[in-house]
Subunit: 430 residues, 2 copies
Amino acid sequence: MDAENEQQAAPAETGGVQQRAGLSRRAVIGWAGAGVAIGAAGVGTVAAATMGSDTPAAAAQSQDVPFWGEHQSGISTPVQDRLHFAAFDVITEDRDALVKMLKEWTKAAASITGGREVGGGAVGVVPQSPPDDTGEALGLPASRLTLTIGFGPTLFEKDGQDRFGLKAKRPEALVDLPKFKGDRLEANRSGGDICIQACADDPQVAVHAIRNLARIGMGVVNVRWSQLGFGKTSSTTPDSQTPRNLMGFKDGTHNIAGTDADGLGKHVWVAPGDGQDWMTGGSYLVARRIRMTIETWDRASLQDQEDTFGRTKIEGAPYGKQKERDAPDLAAMPATSHVRLAHPDSNDGLMILRRGYSFTDGTDGLGRLDAGLFFLAYQRDTRKAFVPLQTKLAASDKLNEYITHVGSAHFACPPGVRKPGEWWGQTLFG
Amino acid sequence: MDAENEQQAAPAETGGVQQRAGLSRRAVIGWAGAGVAIGAAGVGTVAAATMGSDTPAAAAQSQDVPFWGEHQSGISTPVQDRLHFAAFDVITEDRDALVKMLKEWTKAAASITGGREVGGGAVGVVPQSPPDDTGEALGLPASRLTLTIGFGPTLFEKDGQDRFGLKAKRPEALVDLPKFKGDRLEANRSGGDICIQACADDPQVAVHAIRNLARIGMGVVNVRWSQLGFGKTSSTTPDSQTPRNLMGFKDGTHNIAGTDADGLGKHVWVAPGDGQDWMTGGSYLVARRIRMTIETWDRASLQDQEDTFGRTKIEGAPYGKQKERDAPDLAAMPATSHVRLAHPDSNDGLMILRRGYSFTDGTDGLGRLDAGLFFLAYQRDTRKAFVPLQTKLAASDKLNEYITHVGSAHFACPPGVRKPGEWWGQTLFG
């Protein structure tokens, strides 16, 4: 247990401002020196200790995912139930201001993924100031929150401008995605200089995280677009149930498991020599907002639905098989079925780690649900994974009768922040 | 246990179409006769039996809320974690078609709130037809799903037209809500002829319910608007923790408890002699989409935030008190604080049962989170509850600096459907 997280019985230092008794002094000390203590706590820190709140510490202990490590969490981590994803535009030209924000983000991320507030216990201390933390997650456990950062192509170069002296560091794999057949991309749901993926088992915790990072970034970044995902559609845990998408099907059964070091090394993590050194240990993320024409799908016959996937609806078994995880006989599936086209055996062993979420964002003005799949795919080199696969699917997949890609973004997610004192983007900016 | 729900070992009747073996015959039999069997099963029906799926039946048994009863469920029911709310326009002039749909909705609602599919097990039976159920909740337990229906003013009279011969049955309490000070209502987030409130602990279950009702209603109703709520902000369970809203505060501590029969009878349920007999046992629902100007709030000092509510932020204690549930000393709070203005002691004992949810719907084009509170309030007579209270709050509440009402609707929620064979709206249309 981290001594800094224990409630301080001794009178806190006042720092010249009015202060209330009985709260952690960290708020007044500020960030200085807090990093190491946070890091030393590691897995299983106690979230509630500084709050004077009612969080069951025992529950919180088992509900935080390590923030520090070789790779960022939120990629191979077992997929959490809920998502809040945000893409940001950088609105400053000041590189130092951007770096300062990334450092502050890192500290805040380490704190809130550990179930602590931003500021480490500052809420309620200084009445004359806004609280460091917005407070809506007070009393909630960490809920397996992970925060994952990525950098978009426009951070390196935008309208021909080398905005932050990063142009030479743009990885070749961070391509401008081509326009795929059928794409109907909306600018206000696409692109972004920086992304944050917040995954948690409690949506309030994920929303709180994005909001507080946006708040810290005020004047440096603006939220360009964001997306809530209410239900995961993928699993990275071997042998667990594959959740159903909004078409009622299990898709992506043979995802890369978070425990499959060989598969992750081969398909997900950027390796030394892959290109830019600063990305070693990182991964490339493609995000696609895929709208489903639910109403049309719901009028399609069961046969047509099953032919579309090449699976049975109830069991999720590949055609000609009995169980979801039976090895598929691709030749038994319609030539244009989604599983047949997307399967590694049809693509020279190509695999992508998927962490998709279902979304429903009200209606579209024509009385149709604005719903579908927010597709998140991690890979070692987008040029060899998402691009060829989506080129093929866009051309032939029977599923295209029922879906439209309306949002798209591409990000280079750097390696993990290995220890306190390091910060998000350090390998790129440092 | 309901025999109809047991998997049928005998060959199913074919009804002249190709059929697969081993599934419930109910799909072929159709709805006829199924109602009583469903009803007889009552609480604790087994959701998974007809699916051949992996739902743990034991879990499902404890997770369904009774559908049949004197009052609709979803009002005094302990507040579930997630919400999908939909307002529908009736697009037919055919009263019989509307009644037919309401009967079909009732049967479907009884089925899915019990953790069964629409059609009672029809998925996968008839390849040539669309499945009766869209399938994305297959394998999920009932998750305490409740479905609550309401009828809007425009169902009774619209543009001077008595559309379905119901004009004389419009309750006087179902007023056209006045324009309150500060209202900035958007037409596409307001009104509606019929509403369905779906509450569940799993958002996928709530979304599935709304979608399947919308599908059954095709040609009769269109979704006018819908709202997802990701986190409850109210509790109707005595002594439970009050969840925090997106301002980080506990609000509405002294809600009417679902177990408080006297309070419900006095403040929530319509009583004989209150007006239209068909509403006896029902309640009036006001839905307000309240946008928070999060970014402004987050820059307000803690003192200002606490003065706004009249509570402390961390503990939620009324000013001058120690604990959230301590009896408030209203005189100790600022005169314009939300708690002081809204408290029953400031309003001749007026109380409203609240079931609000936090929402976050992406961004607004200016980089601001489109987030806030979707306020749902049930009451015995809106003229004596929401209207005077909101008139007062709209005029004086300090909270108005940080919120804007952008959506509004009003519905008469009829009494419960007491037993199989009865249907939603029967007391109105029957």
